[in-house]
Symmetry: C2
Subunit: 461 residues, 2 copies
């Protein structure tokens, strides 16, 4: 029989829902669970992923469920159908919904079809990110335009942004497995392999741990292509590999890490030069990562460290503070320093990145580079974030900036020619903000240059 | 740079489209390509799978494309947008649509947004299987109800049901890789492993071959649960494993095979008894699989072999022909003997199983067992099909049939008690119907009891 495990106690789920309902105050909250997603015909489906907000408040990792939280009465209703005998013949015995509902403290269980009649009046819902939910909302609520509730969005984010002790335990597990997956790839990649074979190592590791990936991995010798999901190249001595991947537990909690390593036993000189700057930037980030610091300021401090390092090797010039203010560093570091992590690898990105990572004290900058910073707000105890500085040589971007005459005072385009094909390097780990600073989640995997090279030397033998 | 390979020639795609347009005669045919599918937020997406009919007529394995075939003018228009510089910075250089269009013989390329204004008049389209397509059809055509064209469905099926030599080459490749994946799992499964670790072997094999699965594998010690995607059990001496899985090439062509094997070096006596009956049934299927035979009759001949075998070991009784006519065999063999295979593992199931597997000479039976037979029509040269007999002891089904007093003349429910927990066994391979019979696709993997046991003995060492 398929097992559905519920990670937390009745009290946890009941408290979470009570907090949400009391914050919203009146009307009904509609929480839509996910359905199967078809690949190339209805019954050929992708791996099922429950909606994260549904997991957070309802806790049941099963498809075809919906819930209503009635803020006026405090009643919570779950809508779904038990498996028929026909389904049991094909799919095996299924857990009873009534038993699952009991485990998450829900007393009212209705057939799936009953939800329509229970949806009168003021109904608040979150933005749909799957077309099926868009259709369901329009049909259930008899509306032509979907209008998610901003109050509900903010209330959910306020709760989910602060991770509790029991959530942190699961995040620690996810991050430990993530570190082990990275180590497995780092120690088993060999010159001459294809990138997709390295993905195979990562996939075998995840399945072997009874886990999924939290996102399709970036695993490439062209790390300068930030969202590179192509895996068709051979890796050879002299190349670097950038692997950005994470493990997702059955409970939905995610890890997200990046390591960059040489295919041979050692980085080349230019690769080393850049690696050391990224590593130093990572250390800068750690120095600044603590409660009450705006993460945007941490990002900018990191950018300054990068400019100083790039000046030392002759790729940048001028005053570092001025270069950062002008956004010149973003030629090399066009993405943000990090993002929230939790039940989603970009936690709650479906609710709106700007609502999660910014608040009424800070607006998102539209400057190139900063506009890709997902998290800018003041750090608080309980936030779980990624720290992921990187330096990239993106030929298309270099050509664009150069042809537009951008940052001529800060970038030495001539010296840059020598580095044009070095690629991309990123170091990424996951941290919880504590009362007086931060703590790295999970069992650590080394990220300094010497440790990486020594793991690679052992791998190659 | 990400590469998009086009498997066939300009002529192949042009001919396919010409044939379709001439069959439809007038009006426009709208072919929707697939988009990315979101997992838990918009930008976290499942592995992209192009629509198979789009692959068949247009050949470009890239998202966010649509096409119109104008039957009145013969013009074929492709709608899509090239990557912007912003996208290239993040995603890397992308292939130019104009170059891809040229490779598939399409001269008219428009921006994606232009499709709306080109869609007046009589527009035919296929049934949507993704919600996003349902929304797109309603919006593009300004309709409230989706009404797919039955003429178009039949015309597409008539073409895609008959595989050409160049398609068969790719199917041979997919089936060879599928056989190798099965052998890899068969030779590396060890007592004490968890089912999910075996899935990890299958996943590593697929990635290592730069391929995907054609469907999420069934890999379980509870093979009696027909659509079992739960992988949480430990496998031990005395258990059997049923692995139903297939490889899908980048071109979209699929393999689909099943092997059942003992976790130890040998099947138990009861497992052996059932395995031999399934193997004999498979041989019966081969004897009957040739052009002009109704596949329903092959299915029924197989059912009779099963009843005869089950009589020999005392689980069934009475006249085999009468037992099959009554559907008594379906207690043990509740699914169909096979289905079409091609660009989809259940080829064209999105167009309607009954249109693919039946025609105006034969109607689908609603008898339990036969109603799950996806393919009943007369076999023709060029059909690619699966042959997959199986015997299952499904406790829930046995209890149901017994309590309803079903087939008391044919089933010995008392003797059955001894076999109640033996599980499920299936043997499945893929065949092309030739002018005088059939040919197994791909390099074969043995499926007789002795070969399976000897592979397992070597695996355990």
């Amino acid at each position: 029989m398929a097992k559905v495990s519920i990670p937390f106690s009745v009290e946890t789920y009941s408290e979470r829902r009570k907090t949400l309902m009391s914050k919203i105050g009146k009307g009904k909250i509609l929480l839509l669970g996910n359905q199967d997603s078809s690949i190339n015909f209805k019954d050929n489906v992708y791996h099922f992923r429950q909606d994260s907000t549904f997991l957070y408040y309802i806790g049941i990792n099963l498809m075809d469920l919906n819930a209503i939280l009635d803020c006026d009465t405090g009643e919570v209703s779950l809508f779904g159908d038990d498996a028929s005998i026909d389904l049991i013949v094909w799919m095996g015995n299924q857990p009873k919904l009534s038993e699952l509902a009991e485990k998450v403290g829900i007393k009212t269980l209705h057939p799936a079809s009953k939800i329509r009649e229970m949806l009168g009046g003021d109904v608040k819902y979150l933005p749909p990110y799957r077309s099926r939910h868009e259709i369901a909302l329009k049909s259930l609520l008899d509306i032509s335009q979907v209008e998610p509730s901003l109050d509900l969005i903010h209330a959910v984010i306020a709760q989910r942004n602060i991770k509790t002790e029991e959530e942190i335990q699961l995040l620690d597990q996810a991050c430990s497995l993530t570190a082990k997956m990275h180590e497995y790839v780092l120690r088993n990649a060999k010159p001459g392999m294809m990138e997709y074979q390295l993905v195979g190592l990562a996939s075998a590791f995840a399945w072997n741990s009874n886990a999924q990936w939290s996102f399709p991995p970036i695993l490439t010798k062209n790390g300068q292509t930030l969202h590179n999901h192509y895996h068709g190249h051979q890796i050879n001595e002299g190349d670097m590999v950038l692997f950005d991947g994470g493990i997702e537990l059955e409970s939905g909690y995610c890890g997200d890490m990046t390591r960059s390593f040489p295919v041979g036993a050692k980085f080349t000189e230019k690769q080393s030069n850049l690696y050391r700057i990224v590593y130093k930037s990572y250390q800068t980030a750690l120095e600044h990562t603590k409660p009450e610091r705006y993460y945007k300021d941490v990002h900018l401090a990191v950018a300054k460290t990068m400019v100083e390092g790039l000046k030392e090797i002759g790729l940048m010039k001028g005053d570092p503070d001025e270069a950062v203010a002008a956004g010149a560093h973003a030629l090399f570091f066009p993405h943000g320093l990090g993002h929230m992590l939790g039940l989603d690898v970009h936690d709650m990105e479906n609710l709106g990145e700007v609502h999660v990572g910014y608040d009424n004290t800070i607006e998102k900058s539209m400057q190139f580079g900063l506009r890709s910073l997902r998290l800018g707000r003041k750090l608080k105890e309980g936030f779980v974030i990624t720290i992921e500085p990187g330096i990239y040589l993106i030929p298309e971007l270099i050509d664009k900036f150069k042809s537009e005459g951008q940052h001529l005072n800060f970038v030495d385009y001539k010296a840059l020619e020598d580095y044009r094909t070095v690629g991309g390097i990123r170091i990424e780990d996951d941290y919880i903000i504590t009362s007086d600073g931060h703590r790295r989640l999970g069992e650590a995997l080394a990220n300094d240059l010497d440790s990486i090279e020594s793991m690679r030397a052992e791998a190659i033998g």
